[in-house]
């Protein structure tokens, strides 16, 4: 009998608890949507209501786009994240292949170095890297946003672990067929590593799309701003008066990733939690 009660009681308790938590998690998103849909007068009223009396989302979006060049910022975000990811793959894949499958003097030292570098938090190197970019004269350019991240030791580590699982026979077969070591990386290893590269890609793109610290340091020019920087700038300019358009701008900034996430949750969760195997 007790089990009978248990079988109904437990799922109900589980759902109640999870729904309560889910509500907390979602509140900022709901409030953001709600505020972005309200006209100024409704936002600045001390009476709380979720559904706007007058639906003003389009007006707020229009104002946001008029006050800030949001398209440009989104484009900047795209350029920066894609460049970073492309270069990371270009640098990491050959190195990962060599570390996983080739024998050469110093390989183990190099790999130990890679593992060590994973532990370096990005903020730790900020000052010297900033000085280096200053010396190179590339501060306040796309290059300043991209260059420090072209090396992803984590990417090398990840790919190396993946390549370890690729059978040596496949590589030997490619060599027998006369493919060069460089050719093997791109024509044999890359195709087998697509799932791992995708996961790493999601990890990398999300991290750099959302990055605030580095762009804040190296950028001055408004036209180079990445989305997080732009939304922070927007807030500072409006000095807490224009919440409707500000929330609309926030929606625009988080939308690309959130929408992509909703469409491919499993892949995204896999990608973001890659750090879980560090």
């Amino acid at each position: 009998m007790t089990t009978r009660i248990h079988t109904y009681l437990w799922p109900a308790t589980r759902h109640i608890l999870l729904l309560a938590g889910a509500l907390v998690m979602l509140t900022p998103f709901i409030w953001m949507l709600s505020t972005a849909s309200k006209p100024q007068t409704e936002i600045f009223s001390s009476e709380l209501h979720l559904i706007p009396h007058h639906f003003a989302l389009w007006d707020n979006l229009r104002t946001a786009f008029a006050k800030a060049n949001l398209w440009r910022y989104l484009l900047n975000g795209l350029i920066v994240t894609i460049s970073i990811f492309g270069l990371q793959v270009l640098v990491a894949l050959p190195a990962a292949y060599a570390l996983a499958k080739l024998r050469f003097l110093g390989r183990d030292v190099l790999f130990a170095l890679v593992v060590f570098c994973i532990l370096i938090p990005p903020q730790a190197t900020a000052i010297p890297v900033f000085l280096l970019l200053h010396k190179l004269g590339v501060l306040d350019t796309y290059a300043a946003l991209v260059l420090p991240f072209t090396i992803s030791v984590f990417g090398i580590f990840l790919m190396r672990q993946f390549f370890k699982t690729v059978p040596d026979d496949l590589i030997d077969a490619a060599r027998m067929d006369g493919i060069s070591e460089f050719g093997i990386v791109w024509r044999v290893m890359l195709p087998t590593a697509i799932p791992a590269v995708t996961a790493f890609g999601i990890f990398s793109v999300v991290a750099h799309w959302n990055d605030y610290f580095w762009p804040l340091i190296v950028l001055n020019s408004e036209h180079l701003q990445t989305p997080p920087l732009a939304v922070a700038q927007f807030r500072n300019n409006e000095a807490g008066t224009n919440y409707g358009p500000l929330m609309a701008a926030a929606i625009v900034i988080i939308a690309p990733l959130v929408v992509a996430f909703l469409f491919a949750q499993r892949r995204f969760i896999e990608g973001i939690t890659l750090t879980g195997i560090k």
Binding site: V91, L110, A124, P128, D177, P191, I269
Partner: protein, 314 residues
């Protein structure tokens, strides 16, 4: 598929190219060095060099734009340890870590266990709890700022409706840091949940069967026998990574409080940012960075010391 294509295309080259593979390792080693060279150079330039640089800089009085600098030994550190702001900053950072880590780890574990304990709506819940991890933190911080708005914010509105007194959460010394902690927990819970879920899923289902047959009749005894001990390493990992991430807290502080009011939410990385990039005192900023690094290193060491007691899956 495409490697088969590559294979076919490459057939004519066989005769010409087969020498390097069989004739000894030297040409192969040369290509290995060519393959690792770009990564190695960039690693030196962007990671190892700067790491050494930051330590070296911390012993100088270098200021960005200054024509020269001098080695000043431990002066930066003396100044730092004498500075009240540094101690406030350190204390606030540790407070933040001490609140966010247990909070986000416990909630993450609880959520993962709840989700895993039943079959219904698993992926919906997972998606919702993970949403804050995906959303750009800066944008969400601004949303939180408005929710915490003393007059028109949701939080005070709800409190008023409940007959309670609200606060100027981000503008009062007593609440600013804790408000940031709340945002931190909100953001990190989903991430930890997913890591725990992965750990729970990796528990072989047969172990629960075995436990059932061995007489672990209640859900609690199965939890004690199987669930809890097995993701032990996962828990250790989640705690460390949460701690390292919490040590790095910056975005919310920079945009919402700027360390204020009156340094009540000043944290280590923010102090480093202000010294290094607003006042361009690179040497002093470097010294702060070294302190930050020491803490991260300490956490990593603790983790690997504990992590050796690893669980082997049979």
């Amino acid at each position: 598929m495409s490697d088969a294509v590559a294979t076919l295309q490459a057939v004519p080259a066989t005769a010409r190219n087969r020498v390097p593979v069989f004739a000894g390792s030297r040409p192969a080693a040369r290509s290995a060095y060519a393959l690792v060279a770009p990564a190695f150079i960039l690693m030196l330039m962007m990671l190892i060099g700067p790491l050494a640089g930051v330590i070296a800089l911390s012993f100088t009085d270098y200021q960005l734009g200054a024509p020269s600098f001098a080695w000043i030994g431990l002066s930066n550190y003396h100044e730092m340890f004498a500075d009240r702001v540094f101690w406030i900053s350190l204390k606030n950072t540790l407070t933040y870590v001490a609140i966010v880590v247990p909070g986000a780890v416990a909630l993450g574990l609880g959520t993962a266990l709840l989700i895993q304990s039943g079959a219904g709506l698993r992926s919906l819940y997972r998606t919702i709890y993970f949403l804050p991890v995906m959303a750009t933190l800066i944008a969400m911080a601004i949303v939180w700022e408005f929710m915490l708005h003393p007059q028109f914010g949701l939080v005070n509105g709800v409190l008023r409706a409940a007959g309670l007194q609200g606060h100027s959460w981000l503008q009062e010394r007593g609440t600013a840091l804790y408000s940031l902690c709340a945002i931190g927990v909100w953001q990190a819970t989903g991430f930890n949940m997913v890591l725990f879920l992965a750990g729970l899923v990796s528990i072989p289902k047969h172990l629960y069967d075995a436990a059932e047959i061995d007489g672990a009749e209640s859900a609690w005894s199965r939890f004690c026998l199987v669930t809890w001990p097995l993701p032990g390493p996962v828990t250790l990992f989640v705690v460390t990574i949460s701690a390292i991430r919490s040590f790095q807290v910056f975005d919310t502080v920079q945009v919402l409080t700027k360390g204020g009011p009156s340094k009540s939410s000043e944290v280590l990385i923010y102090t480093m940012y202000a010294e290094g990039f607003e006042f361009f005192r690179s040497g002093y900023g470097a010294a702060l960075t070294v302190v930050f690094l020491a803490f991260v290193l300490l956490l990593t060491l603790v983790k690997s010391a504990l992590g050796n007691r690893e669980v082997h899956y049979a």
